[in-house]
Symmetry: C2
Subunit: 452 residues, 2 copies
């Protein structure tokens, strides 16, 4: 006998939770489609050579390699590896199918990715990413940068997990700001931003001490200017635009970033995103080597500790390793497994009943009772009502207990009396109310009830 | 520069095909839910020890092993392996979560599985399986065996890929038949059935020669009886029931199989499955070691060469390796990747447009043009219409070409004239018709058009 268990670091759900998860996936997907994104799926494994072009260090150490039984026996180097994100597969996909795709290429992709993370509560080795990207050929208007926060907004409205704020920044603005302080070395900028990133954990004093200390050696006034700058959060659209205005004219790159952010904010207004749901946040940097323009993070207002639940930004060139074509893009990613885990921990998951709406109980073992239920089940299913029939006769109390455990809301009981009357006794396990419904009215009754 | 390519044996789709695939997945899923099945998902990898309990030989040789970078460097034996079907993970899942599940446990699972198949056209190393199973605790009424063909029927009606016939047989009936011929050794039965399975390929004469030949040594009359028996296909419900009746009274196990098949056929009638869509076929056996009662295969009437597109059956005990509980079940599986591939080859895929319904073209580079489109896009999206806006200005002809390539049906054009009039010029790329629609009527117009 073998103890049945899953590998460490995976999230396996019971059916009721899986339904909730599925509902989140469905809502994300339909929102992506609402904004004109098309689906793609890529294989779980890529050729090792293809996958590991770009990444060294950390990422490579977390890669899972895949080998067939035969290759393993022969001691070969693994030819395949599991994808660790959806960005590298997207780059490979776009480069491979370049001629067959229509540009700008708007794709969504919702699949699991794999990382050999250190074992730790809340860290996953297998997790869903829900990504969208818009890829241009040679160029891509900055107007697309404004479309993505509108998608983020629509997605989290649809998920109904509480109020949130989309944090906006721009890497050109960041670089320009540092240029204006005569800190134009991009490596130094990256190191300073890494320290800024620790503000929440270490506190302002400790960070300032580091930046004025030996390793950085920045003047205290410069550090104070940086701290004031990255501390900025806008509280209204008007204030955001004013702040951008006030920074203008110090550096060409800074001005470019300002212009882009302004356009994004103006467009968000036209797209109907309320000003309460987004803000400028000049501390957002997101991996200095990849993003080149607008960057996004998204925080739950009442649970900032969860961290960013949707992030992304603008990049210069998607697939330089695979094609000579220049493919600029902008994208975002939702790490749904981690989000689901944290929502569950915080008790924020929307309650979810079963997708099954009615259980037809079995009153006795006579064939005519089962036959009656079969006929009734067909009528309900044809009307679009998800219906389960009981075939294993047992005490009625046990059947109700089953429905309750499975999260099914209605139990329909038809005994001899009901059959003679042409009625159905319907119990609503949510309200504990019991109703006598005419069989001919049952479909309408249930359709109304489940839609309410 | 690295040549972008996928590993051999995977099916990667372009967006338009992916949408068709997604539509098939959606219809299968909603049908499964219509019959009261609940979703589960399991990790792509299982612990090697857990996965490889049962299977030796063929299956084991096709397994993909998974190793993190660290484990690979240390030369360890892989601790993880990719699932090669959804049945072993289901067994592990049910055993692991036994106390938390409600029985009979009705689950559906639609995920990809992995097999190191020999490289060959039409064979896949990564492919979707769409499975449902009903698992009882200690017992499971044979009535559930009749529910599954009703699900198969509803699924393939929903997929709209042509007429089909669900082939029914019963392993008890098969065994009982052989018993009645004094061929009661189950290994010998298996060997005979394996020869019978070759009927289509080798022809009746060759198979009969083998069975009467040295290795089997069966009398010619016995072989003729077997051939007559396995050649039976019912052409109506009445004839199926008559044939079952005529076999009765020769062997206890045969009689049990007959009673079960009769019940299945009677219930299919009550569930509204027309007699034209199922048939008895006494040659269906399906892996003699696993199934114990009813077995199913499904053939497309006009394309029998594709082989069974949905198969399954009744088994005694799901998870004997993981739990002492007796868990009888009945299940079916659709290999969707293979089915999709074959439908595509045969030109049988239902045509599928983009999920995006409207493209809002951009007439010029003035900000007010983009602004107008943004406002219009929000109105359309709020009304549930999947809408894409063009931000990269280019020739109108190019924008139409883009919509055509992406499979988007409607292109909306709003120039100065239209703006002054409060109208939208709408082109239907399906019919090539161009219509002038009042902006206030646009939502209703499009909703009607896309639903039609």
């Amino acid at each position: 006998m073998i103890k049945p268990r899953t590998p460490a670091g995976v999230m396996e759900l019971l059916p009721a939770e899986q339904m909730t998860f599925q509902r989140l996936l469905d809502r994300i997907r339909s929102t992506f489609e609402r904004f004109g994104f098309a689906p793609i799926e890529t294989p779980v494994f890529e050729l090792t050579d293809t996958l590991l072009t770009k990444s060294g260090g950390e990422t490579e150490r977390q890669v899972y390699f895949v080998q067939s039984t035969g290759a393993l026996a022969e001691g070969k180097t693994p030819e395949l590896a599991l994808r660790f994100d959806l960005t590298v597969p997207l780059a490979r996909y776009v480069a491979e199918h370049e001629r067959e795709l229509a540009f700008p290429f708007r794709r969504y992709q919702m699949q699991r990715v794999y990382r050999g993370e250190r074992q730790q509560r809340g860290r996953f080795r297998e997790f869903y990413q829900c990504d969208i990207d818009i890829i241009g050929k040679d160029q891509l208007s900055v107007r697309y940068d404004a479309e993505l926060p509108a998608v983020i907004h629509a997605v989290f409205k649809a998920l109904e997990i509480g109020s949130f704020t989309i944090q906006l920044n721009n890497r050109k603005l960041l670089r320009g700001f540092f240029n204006s302080l005569n800190l134009s070395d991009s490596e130094q900028q990256a190191l300073i931003l890494r320290e800024i990133d620790k503000l929440d954990k270490r506190g302002a004093e400790a960070v300032m001490a580091t930046l004025t200390g030996e390793s950085f050696g920045l003047p205290a006034t410069t550090v104070q200017t940086i701290m004031d700058f990255v501390g900025f959060r806008s509280t209204s659209r008007e204030q955001a635009l004013q702040q951008l205005q006030s920074l203008q004219g110090q550096d060409a790159e800074l001005d470019e970033g300002i212009a882009e952010l302004k356009l994004v904010i103006e467009q968000l207004n036209m797209l109907g995103v309320p000003e309460s749901d987004y803000a400028l946040n000049f501390s957002i940097a997101r991996g200095l080597d990849y993003y080149t323009g607008t960057v996004y993070e998204t925080l739950l207002d009442d649970h900032p500790g969860i961290g960013s639940i949707c992030s992304g930004g603008r990049y210069e060139d998607l697939a330089g390793y695979y094609t000579k074509s220049k493919l600029p893009g902008v994208g975002i990613s939702i790490g749904l497994t981690r989000l689901f885990y944290q929502l569950r921990e915080a008790g924020l998951l929307p309650p979810s009943g079963s997708s099954t709406q009615v259980l037809l109980a079995l009153m006795d073992e006579r064939p005519e009772s089962a036959a009656y239920n079969l006929r009734l089940a067909s009528i309900l299913r044809d009307a679009g009502i998800n219906t389960e029939t009981v075939f294993e006769f047992g005490k009625l109390a046990k059947q109700f207990k089953y429905a309750d455990k499975a999260g099914i809301r209605f139990v329909a009981v038809v005994g001899d009396e009901e059959r003679a009357d042409g009625t159905v006794t319907l119990k609503d396990l949510q309200t504990q109310e019991q109703t006598q419904v005419q069989e001919s009215q049952l479909v309408t009754y249930l359709q109304t009830a489940v839609q309410a």
